[in-house]
Amino acid sequence: MIETIVQGLLLGGLYTLFALGQSLMFGVMRLTNTAQGDFIVLGAFAAIAGISVLGLPVGWALAAVLPAAFGFGYLLQRYVLNGTLGRDPLPSLVVTFGLSIVIQNLLLELFSADPRSIETGGLASEGFAVTDSFSLGVLPLMILTVAIAATASLQWLFTRTAIGRSFRAVSDDREIAELMGLQSAKVYALATAIAFVLISIAGILQGMRTTVSPADGPLLLLFAFEAVIIGGMGSFWGTLSGAMILGVAQQIGFRADPGWGIWFGHLVFLVVLVVRPQGLFPKTRG
């Protein structure tokens, strides 16, 4: 039982990284990115392409993807998504949903439907033996560490820095923030750029831990979304706990019956939604 929970928490680390970008983009500009999962997959494939097509060493390829994701996110928000924001959620939903279809089919055309993974030089199979039958993987522990570090930095960025202050300002009242001299279009673009760095980290780690294929995106989006809602809005630590709860729920489900693991995760999400629609740890910034 303890093993299941520990595995669930490790899985939750990965889900945290899936969800942080979503949490950030929704928090700053109320934008629901339905292509979140596909961008995660795209990040993984960008690294794979860097390694296998351009022949870069693994470390260099990974290091190149992060700034590329930052730039891509900035431009996407500034020149495409900013035009879809508004009281009506439809334009941003249709545009991101369209992007999701475009990315899936583009990756399918370029890389075929085969699942692929990022070569880690044996890292993915290393582990410490805790007891005779139970060992902890090195890579999942690294992922969890990255997830906690990312959550802490994001929380720090939001509460302690000038950038974070501008994020909160445009989130609370865009017009007043603009009167105070902030350019919301640029603030939004910066938020999405940061979200895309997190998304590409998530994609790379997903590609190292298991495999990615072009059609994986929607499921990853659902996990990210469930983590955000379970955790409650307004706090990145909430998102982290939501991801942990989802990870543990799925592991318990998988243990009971492999066919019901994801189903059980969805069910826990729906129960939280009914019992506590504001999420378990909401912290709306006043």
Partner: protein, 332 residues
């Protein structure tokens, strides 16, 4: 205070003519099994399902302000209920089509209790999760073939030509009935309330419109329609599987049709469905590039051409096939 007398005008310049033309078109369409080829009928049934589904999505998004990515839940429920009634309860599948739709509409009531806790973009993804729950649940039921699906055996005794004609007529009736249903609903007092909610929810509530109840009504009607499309589709298809029945592609294509045709107008999904049919017919051989193009087109139209094709025609030439708007004209 000066009172201005106004009269309410409904309908456009071409409304009457459109009605006559529509009636004639339906009459011609109804006689198709006597002179047409059976492949035309199959194609019509398919496009009818897409169209009904898209129209219901339009009702929710364009009038109810609820953007859902989970309408395939009700499409699948309609299909599976029809199949279960036909295969296990010996009910004629054609009779089971409306029952399947009804069950989908009823299932929407408890589902709304969960889904309505989310708004805007989160409502969209939340409904998608709910539809995944249905898909995974059905995948684990071995009586209907689990994940690999099953075949509708109840129609086995019926001759192929008869089956195809009846399916075709059924589809035609469903299309006409759902257009009429949506049209009359939107022209009624409730339709006016719905438009008020779409334009401003808070203002509508302050004028005494029961916003929550209206949204629930729209959600249930849309689920009924999606279930109707699903039941009809799988009577035509004879084979069902959870991945096909609860595929998010259904909603993706509905969004495409509505956005291209024009959101919030009955003509929108009609134009969108015809365009989608034509694109599908001539370009679907291109596979991934075709889907990629559909995605791009939806993005471009949303950004640069918000009203869609029919919206453009309406604002440019004043075309209206289904006059649901009311115009106030000063009486002098």
């Amino acid at each position: 205070m000066q009172n201005t007398q106004v009269i309410v005008e409904r309908g456009g310049r071409h409304g009457g003519a459109a009605l006559v033309a529509g009636g004639a078109l339906i009459a011609i369409a109804a006689s198709l099994p006597f002179w047409g080829e059976s492949s035309w009928m199959r194609e019509f049934v398919q496009i009818a399902c897409y169209f009904i589904f898209a129209m219901m999505w339009n009702l929710m998004a364009g009038y109810g302000g609820m953007v859902s990515i989970g309408q395939q839940a009700f499409f699948g429920i309609g299909g599976y209920v029809m199949l279960a009634l036909g295969n296990f309860a010996d009910i004629n599948p054609f009779v089971a089509i409306p029952i399947g739709a009804l069950v989908a509409g009823l299932v929407a009531l408890p589902v709304s209790y969960v889904a309505f806790r989310l708004q805007g973009g989160y409502f969209a993804i939340g409904t998608w999760v709910i539809s995944e729950v249905f898909r995974l649940s059905i995948s684990n039921i071995s009586a209907v073939g689990g994940g690999s699906g099953t075949t509708l055996t109840a129609l086995r005794g019926i001759e192929k030509a008869t089956r195809e004609s009846v399916t075709y007529w059924m589809a035609l009736v469903c299309v006409v009935a759902s257009v009429a249903l949506v049209y009359l609903f939107l022209r009624s007092k409730r339709g006016l309330a719905l438009l008020a909610i779409r334009d401003n929810e808070v203002a509508a509530e302050s004028q005494g419109i029961p916003v929550r109840r209206m949204k629930l009504a729209v959600y249930a009607v849309a689920a009924f329609g999606a279930g109707l499309a699903g039941a009809l589709y799988f009577v035509g298809n004879l084979r069902i599987s959870p991945d096909a029945a609860f595929s998010v592609n259904w909603t993706a294509f509905a969004i495409f049709m509505v956005v291209i045709g024009g959101l919030g107008r009955i003509e929108g999904p009609l134009v969108g469905a015809i365009l989608f049919w034509a694109l599908n017919k001539f370009l679907s051989d291109y596979g991934t590039w075709y889907l990629l193009g559909l995605g791009m087109l939806a993005i471009l139209v949303t950004i640069f051409f918000k009203q869609g094709l029919w919206g453009y025609a309406q604002s440019r030439w004043g075309w209206t096939l289904f006059p649901t708007q009311r115009r106030l004209i000063e009486n002098t």
